[in-house]
Each structure stands twice: as structure tokens, then as C-alpha cells.
Amino acid sequence: MPSFPADSPSMEASLILEDVTKRFRSGGRIVHALDAFSARVRRGTVTGLIGPDGSGKTTLMRLIVGLLLPDHGRLTALGIDVIRNPLAVQESVGYMPQRFGLYEDLTVRENLDLYADLQGVLPEQRSARYSELMHMTGLARFTGRLAGDLSGGMKQKLGLACTLVRSPDLLLLDEPTVGVDPVSRRELWSIVYRLVEQEGMTVLLSTAYLDEAERCQEVILIHQGKPVGQGKPGDFSARLTGRTFHVTSPVVNKRTLQESLARAPGVIDAVIQGDGVRLVTAPGASPDPAVLLPGRSDIRVAPVFPRFEDSFVTLLKKDSENPSPVFGKPDRRPAAPTEEDVIVVQHVKRRFGSFYAVKDISFTVRRGEVFGLLGANGAGKSTTFRMLCGLLPASEGMLRVAGKDLRRAAAMARARIGYMAQRFSLYAGLSVLENLRFFSSVYGLRGGNQRKRLEWAMNEFQLGSMADVISGNLPLGYKQRLALAAALMHEPEILFLDEPTSGVDPLARREFWNRINALSVQGVTILVTTHFMEEAEYCDRLVIMADGEILSQGTPADMKERFRSAERPEPSLEDAFIGLMETRQPRELVS
């Protein structure tokens, strides 16, 4: 190998992207997946590629490994020109796609063998490498198990192991932590760092979880195909030092508080966190309560450390032209807060064959509450959710929704609930207007009434300009608005949201939650499942589920309080979640 001078840029950077542009054609429109994207990834670092879904992360990864050709620009990986020599890149780069191609009908060992064969790992080298990988990923006990029978976290670790059968110099991981529970997520991160330290690997990892950015040594922010910034995560947060606060009020409801704070002068971002509101102010703006909310002296403003998300949102808000929408008058007068239980779950069990997906759970939800259902994949939260929507009968126990027993009056209960599924599940082939018209008709709206609601949806959700666009071609944020609009056409009393904001960018997520808050203020009860721990903060109360059981129940603040300790004075909900899981762990090992 010819020797480069030590300071040569190609040695310094494992990956160089210059002016990379990639366009796709989608439904007659041209989408700029990547727009003159330039960036460098330093050798021996863990670099995070951070951006919401659809921002171009996956396209970028695919371009780097030569699976796509750019329309314009240059890519150099490990000193190799990707466009000219994709095979050479593929031989030295490890790439784990978002949905890693595990063969679910092969065992762990057989998957490893396949990739070892394909990567040219000689048989005599394998056993040492395998045992190293199995030890690292904790899969040693499961080598004979079918990959399809592994949990989400284990699958992800196996995918990583398969990518690593031949130790690559550059490792690309496309959203490795999606759909993985927080415990496995931590483990994956520790594996990544071990690789960097032990094998001197360079890692480029994409993620939509903003809290993960803080674990990277360096981050590249990407939004709508353009780099928004690059640097150490701490640098981003540092810029906001002195501009982040936590606001609480003993009197005012946190939602009302958030609503008024969001409109206050000098406020860039206001989100509900725990029992109060997290605030990011403009540079130089005073956090004085008198300035923020004139006439309110009862609020308390405490400074907090800036988070990465704060800086990301600040960056994005600077770019975006349209400010977050201001809601019109509530279309229903605010309901007086009541103690009435609108959802009652009592000793509910759900069995599939001999397997209990839900084991004897009980909880109640009051009118006007935002209630969260938290848990990892397979914890039973989807099953519970489906039972509450009437999609699945309970094997045992009692379910009452809107005062109706689901066993007897399911159809009547269904008329009073709205449902928004996890994936976009309206008719992708129909236009926006056709979808809305269909769902409103199905709920019995017609004539002038229907026209009025359609008009309302078009205005409220700013869908007017998109009315005739095929829903499947909508940008993700619009899809989500449309789905919510469809669920609200018949003004339901209860709204069920299944992982409503997964993959949506932070701005759209804020906008979404603003709407939900407004609904909740009007007395609509909201039941939401999520695995975004930050999102759980928006809930009034929540339950955390694991293995079909309720581990904990209460307000977000209560949950965090239980895990406050000397080394964790400010525990996050994720800390609480992991703490809860760890207290369970021993039991699982015994069983």
C-alpha cells in the first residue's frame, strides 16, 4: 500500500462527501433527497447522522456503499472513489441497513455462516471471531435459535454481528436503534464504542432519536437533504447555555401554561416536560415571568441544562418559514374537568394459544386526560390498545369505553372514538379530500354537516393546498395531519393514538402535540402509546408495561421521583424505565 503523508486529508477523514445531490421521482414530482450535501467523517470516531425521517439519511448511507448513484457530486470512502469502484468499497465497508436483512427462517449461527461465506472469512478464522461477536452481543446462548424468534433488540444485535463478521474499517449503521427497547439500546451503544476502541473502526450512525445525538462524538445534522450543522454535540447545546428553563405553576394547568408560553415574546420553543413546561428563549430574551406572562406572578422559572433537542429545534425554527400554526377558536367549549372515568380496564387478560400477551391488567382513564401506554416492543401495549379500540376481544376481564361495555355495545362505543394507527393507514391511493370524505361518510356525516367538517379539516390542518394530492405521495408530516384529521371528523370523545409521531421531525411533533393539547383542554380524552420517552412527558398519567404486565402506574413526575438517586439527581423517564426493567431482570432469568 502506498504511504500517504500522515496529514493527508484522505487519511484524516474516512469518508468525504462533496456536493452530493440525489433526486428521486415520486408521483410525478421530483424530490430532492439530498441537495448538495458535503460532510467529512473523521477517522476513528463515532459520528451521528441526525435527522427526522425523510431527511435523506438512508439515501446518504446507500450512496456511500454504492447502492445508489448520485446525480452530482463525489463520494470517497476509505480513500476509494465510490462511484468508480463500488465493489472495492463494499469489500471494506460494513453496512447495516435499517431493516437489516436477517433471514428469519435461519438460525443465528446460520445467518453468521452466510455472511462469513459472503464476506470471504476463512473457515479457520471463524470460530475466534464468532465467539468474540457472540460474547460482545450476548447472543452466545442463542446460536441455535431462529433469527425470527429473537426479540427486536437481539435481532438488531445479530444484524450488527453479521455486519461485523469481517471487521470493516468503516461501519455504517442506518437507524440501528429503531424499535429497540431502551435497555437494548444502551447495550448497542456500548458495543459500538467497544468497536471503536478495540478495532479502531470509524462509525457513521444515523438516528432519528435526538437524545442519542449526545452519545456521539460528532454529529452531522441533516434536514430536508441539506446539512444543517456539524460538530460535537456538546457544542450545539453549549450555544444555548443560559437560554433553557423549566417553568412550573402551582395554579395553572401545564397545558394552558404551555399554550400561553408558546406565544410569549422571545420564546423559541415551549414543550411540556413532566409537571411543567420546558422553555428555550431567544438570545438576549429575559426569562422574567413578568415578561413571559404579564399578569401572572405565580409561575416559577428555573434554569436547566440545554439538551441536544433544544438546539436542533432552534436550528430548524430558524430555517422554517412558516411559524407553528396558531389554532382558531376551539370548536367545542372547554369541558369542565371531571372525575368521570371514560375508560375502565379491569383484570383484562388476552391469550393467544397458550401465550398470555396481556396478563391481568387494570387501569382507568378520566375524561380530558392524556394517558400514556409505554413499553418496549412485545410488552403487550399494542394488544391492550387493540382491545380498547374493539379490534380484539379480551379473553377475560372487563373493558368499558365511553360508558359502553365493549363486549356488548362495541358498535356504539366505536362511534364515539377516533383512532389513528401507528403507520399511515388511510387509503394511500386516494386523494386527501377523497379520504376525508370517505371517513366522514362512514361515520354518518352527510350533506351540509359533512361539508362543514370537511372545510374545518382543510383549514384546521392546512390541507387545502393538498386536497387533490394522492395521500401516498404526501410528505410524512402531512400524512400525519391527514390521519389525525380523519380521526377527528366525527368529533370523537376519545382519541386513540398508536405511536403517533414515530419518525416525524421535532417541529411536526411539536405541532402535533399542540393540537392534542388543545383537544385535551376541550375535554377529549386521549390514550396514546409510545416508545419515545420524551413524548411520555406530555402525558398526564401513564402506565409502563413489560411482558404483558403493568410495571408502574402514575404521573411522569412520580415515576422519575422513584429513581432519583445521588448519581442521578435529575433522572429522565428513560432512566426510570431502565430502572424498572432492571428490577425485573432477575425474575426473568429465573423463569
Partner: protein
């Protein structure tokens, strides 16, 4: 309720026809297949290749050979000179048959009033062989009669006077083309319905429907109607092509035909929706549609008569809606069948349709995974 079903129906139509690719799949292949199969599927022989091996110098053999050559059914491909040429001709399928006239063909006829014509037929396709032999026999017996009347030989004491009803020239196209109406209607209906529920399940939209106050029967009706409308339009179009392009006579009443079509669509949609609601994935739906389609074509009497099947298989065909529809459509086309005559064909389809639709509706809600 009507309002909601109407909304469902509009939705189904939009979902089916708005996308260019799925529109193409529903419309283009059936029409192409109609034309191609309409011409291809025939048992009538046409330009059958044959060779003559005539060792006889006489006039009678030449006369007979000329008659063969004059027939549009046959097409002379070779004039053989010796025995050894026969086998390669037949083996290589260059000729389906060989007419061999011995050296004394004319002499024997003149002297003994009796001569032999040897016909060697390739029996690999026994049906073609049988038909070709029939045609030759006809030509030869007409030749014989004429010879007998000219040369004062024996004449047959009596002849069978055969008349065929409904299809006097025995054109097999008259039989096959109405069958294609049934065949393609079934394929289209299954393509439209067999995946419709599975596709919605995979896209998550079915859950979205189930959480609305819609009753399963309403959902069912919303799914049945598009199959009905698309099926009837395509079937009507194929019927028009059969009448005006292929010139198959349509003698019976349209009422009888459309009553049959209505019930056939009902039963086909029933089967399609049942497959669809059993299937978890579209792939299973597709495989199910396929596994239903193939035997129901074979066991319908489309190409080969049901009466030729062993008894247990004939009983099996009773479950096949296409079997009944083929009887109806052929009867209406060629025999002028009426509603009262076809009653025994109507009710089984109605029963099959209702049973399948009920199962499908039940499965909408009770299929748990």
C-alpha cells in the same frame, strides 16, 4: 346505511381504478386473452399436414388424392416415393398422417370392386388423430359411393342420417368462446376480490375501518359491489365480442343469461372474499386464488366434458360455480335456454355465493391473529 355503503363503494372503486398499474392489470390482460384464446382454443382441424404415398399409376388413386387435396381440412406436405420415408415423416411430426395407396389400387377396384386405402396416423394427440380419421373416412365414403354409383357396385342398404342440434356445423368455437366468458369473468372477479381484504389488512386500513361504527355486513357489501360492477361490465363486453366478433349465435333470452351472470358473480365474489378474509398476507390470498382458479377451470367442463370424469370427480364439480355458469351461458347462446329450463343451474350458485359471503363477513371480525 345506504350512504355509508355508497361511500365504501366509491372508496373501493377509487382504490382499484385510480392507480394506473392496477387498472391495467384488471382491464388489459382479460381482453388480450379473450382474442388470443378465442382463436387458439378450438378443436376444429385446419390445414392438417398429410403426405401421400401413391404406388398406383391408375386413375382412381389420382381421383381420390385430388379429393383430399381439395379439402380445406388437409394440407399436402409431401409426395412420398418409398416405404422408408413414412416413419421419418410421422415421427418428426412433419405430417400427421400418410395415405398409402398400393400398386394395385385402381386395378383391384375395377376388378374386384374392392380396394384398400391404408391410412397411417400419428396418435400422439389422440383427439386430433380421431378427428382427422373422421374427416378422411368421410371423404373416402363419399368417393366410394360415387364410384359405386358410377360403376354399379353395392350400395349400403341404409345410412345413418345424423343431424346435430344447436351447432349444425359442429364449430367448436361456438362451444369454447362462451366458455371463455365464464373463464375470464372468474379470473377478473377473483383478481379484484381475493386480495382486497388482505391488501387492506397489510396496509392497516382494515383496522381503520373496523374501528368505525360500520357493521361487517356493510363492509362486505362495500366490497361486493365493485366486483359485481366490474365483473358485469367485463362479462358484457366479452359477450359482445363473442356475438359480433366471433359470430357465435345468441339465441336465448338475455334475462336468463344475466340471471346466471348475476349468480355466478355472486358465487365467485363469495369465494374471492372468503379467500381474502382467510389470508393474512396478500401472498396467501394470491396463492389461494390460484389454487381455487386452476381446479375450477379444469373441473368446469370448459375444455373437456364433465361426463368423462370419474364419478367422484363429477361429484366434486358440484361445488364449482363455474360449472353451472358454463351450462347456462352455452345453453343461452346456442340452445336458446330460458330461465325455467336453467333453474337447476341457478340455485346451486346462489347457495355457494351466500355461504361463502356469510363466512367472509364472519371472518372480518373474528379472524384473530
Amino acid at each position: 346505511m345506504l350512504n355509508r355503503i355508497f361511500a365504501l363503494m366509491i372508496k373501493e372503486f377509487l382504490a382499484l381504478l385510480k392507480d394506473k398499474r392496477s387498472r391495467t392489470v384488471i382491464i388489459v390482460p382479460p381482453l388480450l386473452q379473450l382474442i388470443v384464446f378465442g382463436y387458439a382454443a378450438t378443436y376444429d382441424l385446419n390445414r392438417v399436414p398429410y403426405a401421400i404415398y401413391n404406388e398406383d399409376p391408375g386413375a382412381a388413386s389420382r381421383e381420390l388424392a385430388a379429393r383430399m387435396e381439395g379439402s380445406p381440412t388437409f394440407h399436402l406436405v409431401a409426395d412420398l416415393q418409398n416405404d422408408s420415408q413414412i416413419a421419418p415423416m410421422i415421427n418428426a411430426r412433419k405430417a400427421l398422417m400418410i395415405l398409402h395407396m398400393g400398386p394395385h389400387f385402381t386395378r383391384d377396384l375395377l376388378l374386384d370392386q374392392s380396394s384398400k386405402l391404408q391410412v397411417i396416423v400419428d396418435g400422439r394427440n389422440s383427439n386430433t388423430a380421431m378427428l382427422a380419421l373422421g374427416y378422411v373416412r368421410n371423404i373416402v365414403s363419399r368417393f366410394s359411393e360415387q364410384w359405386a354409383s358410377e360403376h354399379g357396385g353395392v350400395r349400403p342398404p341404409a345410412r345413418l342420417n345424423i343431424r346435430t342440434w344447436f351447432n349444425p356445423n359442429l364449430e367448436s368455437r361456438w362451444f369454447i368462446v362462451p366458455g371463455i366468458v365464464g373463464l375470464l369473468t372468474l379470473v377478473v372477479t377473483l383478481l379484484v376480490t381475493a386480495l382486497s381484504v388482505a391488501r387492506e389488512r397489510e396496509a392497516g386500513t382494515f383496522d381503520q375501518l373496523l374501528v368505525t361504527p360500520l357493521h361487517p355486513v356493510e363492509i362486505l357489501l362495500g366490497k361486493v359491489m365493485p366486483g359485481f360492477i366490474i365483473g358485469s361490465i367485463e362479462a358484457s363486453f366479452i359477450i359482445l365480442v363473442a356475438v359480433f366478433w366471433f359470430h357465435v349465435p345468441l339465441l336465448g333470452s338475455l334475462t336468463a343469461l344475466y340471471t346466471g351472470l348475476f349468480l355466478f358473480l355472486l358465487s365467485a365474489i363469495g369465494v374471492g372474499l372468503m379467500i381474502s378474509s382467510i389470508a393474512v398476507t396478500q401472498q396467501q390470498g394470491l396463492l389461494g386464488a390460484f389454487l381455487f382458479l386452476v381446479p375450477s377451470i379444469i373441473l368446469s367442463g370448459f375444455a373437456t366434458p364433465i361426463a368423462n370424469m370419474p364419478p367422484f370427480m363429477q361429484d366434486l364439480t358440484l361445488l364449482n360455480p363455474m360449472r353451472y355458469f358454463l351450462v347456462i351461458i352455452r345453453s343461452v347462446f346456442l340452445e336458446g335456454g330460458s330461465v325455467s329450463l336453467l333453474w337447476p343451474q341457478y340455485w346451486p350458485m346462489a347457495v355457494i355465493g351466500m355461504v361463502n359471503l356469510s363466512i367472509a363477513a364472519w371472518l372480518f371480525r373474528h379472524r384473530l391473529y
